[in-house]
């Protein structure tokens, strides 16, 4: 009843080709954007911006990047964190070495640099597939981190190898407060997410999915594998690169190569597995789950322990948190192996019939 598209007739090609063909979706997205752009900045405090919303959006963007590559184009990658590192260091160096370069341009150039590196490390995908490809992208993870550590030029000869990001300025306007940073990140993430949504339904996106589902068949119907796969690597790395630049500039403020470890790549991979492979929404849900749940447990468990009078030390709470988190991941994967996005899809299908299922 609430979610029924009956009666929504499309009378023009433009109406039929909209990004969100169903009216309820359109309204929902607009409402969500209004909340994110207007309501949240009014009500949320610094903690929410700097510790929860900004990292959530940044990791959602990185997960989205990986999802384009793994979920849509079917190329498993373990190098997402490394591409983020490329983005972070590239943005830093563009800012450092080109005077007066607008920040947004730096972010875009950082994304392009990451895309270039992504194409390079995507080359093995032309010959190897599946888990073997994952191992090949692992090389990117180690090589890039090693490279950034080894050559002091990348960190402007900082004695410790840590880079401290510059102030974010737009034609003289300084983005400094957590609220402004949040709005900046949100804007970029919204634009890139809508672009991704559009991309995956275009011929490019459909070519990716064809390659994912069976590359031999895709080749037979005339999809050229090399450009398709490399484009997937490039776009994915672009997203990860921008996410990395935002991670350095809007979130931590100082990064070292070791921060972009294999561990982080795995976390991004888990985000899309939990959230849903081949779903834009899934990237956001997965990022929220992986990132926010531990914080939630971390805050509620001690309170809960205090309430029940249990003598938990901090270390015990941390261990329990890891246990619960692991158990929840298993629970969700057993209940819904296609990820949280699939749950949302099922809910929509139910709502379509509700309240008269039969």
């Amino acid at each position: 009843m609430l979610y029924r598209e009956a009666g929504q007739f499309k009378s023009s090609y433009a109406a039929d080709q909209q990004l969100f063909p169903i009216r309820q979706d359109r309204i929902g997205v607009i409402l969500l954007l209004v909340v994110a752009f207007v309501v949240v900045p009014m009500v949320a405090g610094d903690y929410w911006f700097s510790a929860i919303l900004i990292p959530f959006l940044i990791f959602a963007l990185a997960a989205l990047g990986l999802n384009l590559l793994t979920g849509y184009a079917g190329q498993l990658s373990l190098g997402s964190a490394a591409f983020m590192a490329v983005g972070a260091y590239a943005a830093y160096n563009f800012q450092l070495r080109i005077d007066g370069l607008p920040m947004v341009l730096s972010f875009a150039l950082a994304g392009l640099t990451a895309a270039g590196v992504g194409i390079l490390f995507g080359l093995p995908s032309l010959w190897i597939k599946g888990f073997y490809l994952a191992v090949a992208t692992l090389a990117a993870q180690f090589f890039i981190v090693w490279c950034l550590t080894k050559f002091p030029w990348f960190s402007n000869h900082s004695s410790s190898g840590v880079i401290s990001t510059q102030k974010i300025t737009f034609f003289g306007y300084v983005v400094a407060s957590p609220r402004e940073k949040y709005l900046l990140v949100l804007t970029l993430v919204t634009v890139l997410a809508l672009a991704a949504k559009n991309l995956v339904r275009s011929s490019t996106g459909r070519a990716w999915m064809a390659v994912r589902d069976m590359d031999v068949a895709a080749e037979v119907i005339g999809i050229r594998l090399m450009p398709t796969k490399l484009l997937a690597f490039a776009v994915s790395s672009f997203y990860c690169g921008v996410a990395g630049a935002l991670y350095a500039f809007c979130y931590l403020g100082s990064v070292e190569p070791d921060g972009f470890s294999l561990d982080m790549s795995f976390r991004i991979l888990f985000m899309i597995i939990i959230g849903g492979m081949g779903s834009i929404l899934g990237s956001f849900l997965g990022a929220a789950f992986i990132l926010l749940l531990p914080i939630f447990l971390d805050i509620t468990l001690p309170a809960l322990a205090g309430l029940l009078g249990l003598p938990f030390s901090n270390a015990t709470v941390s261990h329990i948190q890891i246990l619960v988190f692991g158990a929840l991941i298993m629970f969700f994967l057993i209940v819904e192996p296609h990820g949280l996005a699939r749950l949302w899809q099922i809910a929509k299908e139910k709502l379509r019939l509700w309240p008269f299922p039969h």
Binding site: G28, S159, S164, E256, I299, A315
Partner: protein, 438 residues
């Protein structure tokens, strides 16, 4: 469909946040600790000592001039992003009253410097980075107290020089280090020292986490250096000691940094650790009167933080105590200036940290003689001491083998200044004029 959808979670979290309100009369301590994860064992000892001393002040004196110390711990797992989350979580409370934050992690400290400066919350980085924060004109809220990696490296070289009858000319020294911010910071200092003292410096990095070092030690065997200066952390330390034994390099010629010189490093290495030396700014053992008293007062009352009581009096435990002693002394100083019997805020603690003067006499009053060197800080010198002792592992315990050794300040401190100025330029910071600070 494009942004977060976790309304339930949000409400629950904000409810949980609301429920934690501190009393206005108490002095709050935000503690970003780690007790799990790869370095959990080190964190347990350090933060155990830290919390025990705060408890001790509460139990013994009823707080500082009647102001009770309260604290909140947040687990960082030695992870930068988690550290930032912890900091943001405790920030609201810390803005009211705060003790200095000890992250015990170079990475977390780096990530917090800008934020803490903006929020006016002092960061203490005892014996880690960012080391150029020694120059307080650029870093008003960051305090690499007691001593820094560069000064430590210089002090270790001084110790070696004394052993070698006053000259390092023509000697060969290997610097074996954890390939991270931590391991790289002393390199500049070592290079300067190498130029000055005419020894050959060979740098050998070890990738994190460092549990595989056979290639590095093969190289050391080929080079056959006179000494190995060793900058390890966590599991890397015991691996290095075992590897040194395997290639037959004398442990007596190996000197570690203070993060490579605790019982957590030597005990697991067993036999291989005997004779190994390391720098430290605090001594181990329970014969320090303060440590003995903590055991009596805090553990006597059943309020001790350590689950494993054998860690009492270990190097890292005592280091935690020394960190807490400095923090509490800073709070005393701030109260003396801004009003006794009242909690103090970050700005006031910052002033106190910049004007610390802990003499031997004061240390004796606390019962902490030799626990840490005397400290006197200023706007131009946030380090305050720059002295370390060298200790040696005799197979069962750490034994000091030197007095307090000060690094070559004339050589090292200008390096900090250059680095801090570069940072100020990159960040568009106008340094304070230290001459005008009182």
């Amino acid at each position: 469909m494009f942004a977060y959808r976790k309304p339930l979670l949000m409400t629950a979290v904000s409810l949980a946040l609301l429920s934690q309100a501190a009393s206005a009369e108490d002095q709050f301590f935000p503690i970003t600790s780690y007790r799990v994860g790869p370095y959990g064992a080190n964190g347990q000892s350090f933060y155990g000592g830290f919390v025990d001393y705060l408890n001790y002040v509460n139990l013994k004196d009823g707080g500082i001039n009647g102001v009770k110390l309260v604290w909140e711990e947040c687990e960082t797992e030695y992870n930068n992003a988690k550290g930032v989350e912890c900091y943001e979580r405790m920030k609201a409370k810390a803005k009211v009253s705060t003790g200095p934050i000890h992250t015990m992690s170079t990475g977390v400290a780096y990530a917090l410097i800008d934020k803490a400066t903006e929020d006016k919350i002092p960061l203490a980085m005892m014996g880690y980075g960012r080391t150029d924060a020694v120059d307080g004109s650029v870093f008003p809220y960051a305090f690499p107290l007691v001593t820094t990696y560069q000064m430590q490296a210089s002090a270790i070289l001084k110790f070696i020089k004394d052993k070698e009858k006053g000259s390092l000319d023509g000697k060969k020294i290997v610097f074996l280090y954890h390939d991270s911010a931590y391991g790289k910071e002393p390199i500049v200092a070592l290079q300067e020292e190498a130029k000055l003292n005419k020894f050959t410096l060979i740098q050998i990095p070890v990738a994190h986490p460092g549990n595989e070092q056979s290639a590095q030690w093969l190289k050391i065997r080929q080079e056959n250096p006179d000494y190995v200066i060793f900058w390890g952390w966590g599991v890397m330390n015991q691996t290095a000691l075992k590897a040194a034994q395997k290639v037959g390099f004398a442990r007596e010629k190996m000197i570690g940094s203070w993060w490579a010189g605790s019982e957590e490093d030597t005990v697991p290495a067993g036999d291989a650790a005997k004779g190994y030396m390391a720098a430290t700014w605090n001594v181990a053992g329970k014969d320090v009167p303060l440590i003995a008293d903590i055991e009596k007062v805090v553990y006597g009352a059943g309020k001790g933080d350590l689950q494993d009581k054998t860690k009492l009096g270990t190097i890292l435990y005592n280091r935690g105590v020394s960190a807490a002693v400095l923090s509490v002394e800073a709070l005393r100083g701030a109260q003396a200036k801004y009003g006794k019997g009242k909690p103090v805020n970050g700005e006031q603690v910052r002033w106190a940290l910049e004007n610390l003067n802990i003499t031997d006499a004061r240390l004796k009053e606390i019962g902490a003689v030799n626990l840490l060197p005397p400290i006197k800080t200023s706007c131009t010198n946030h380090e305050g001491s720059g002295m370390v002792k060298i200790q040696q592992w005799d197979g069962a315990k750490w034994v000091p083998v030197s007095g307090w050794i000060e690094g070559n300040k004339e050589l090292i401190h200008p390096l900090f200044k250059t680095s801090a100025q570069q940072y100020a330029k990159e960040k568009n910071i106008t340094p304070r004029d230290c001459a005008k600070e009182s």
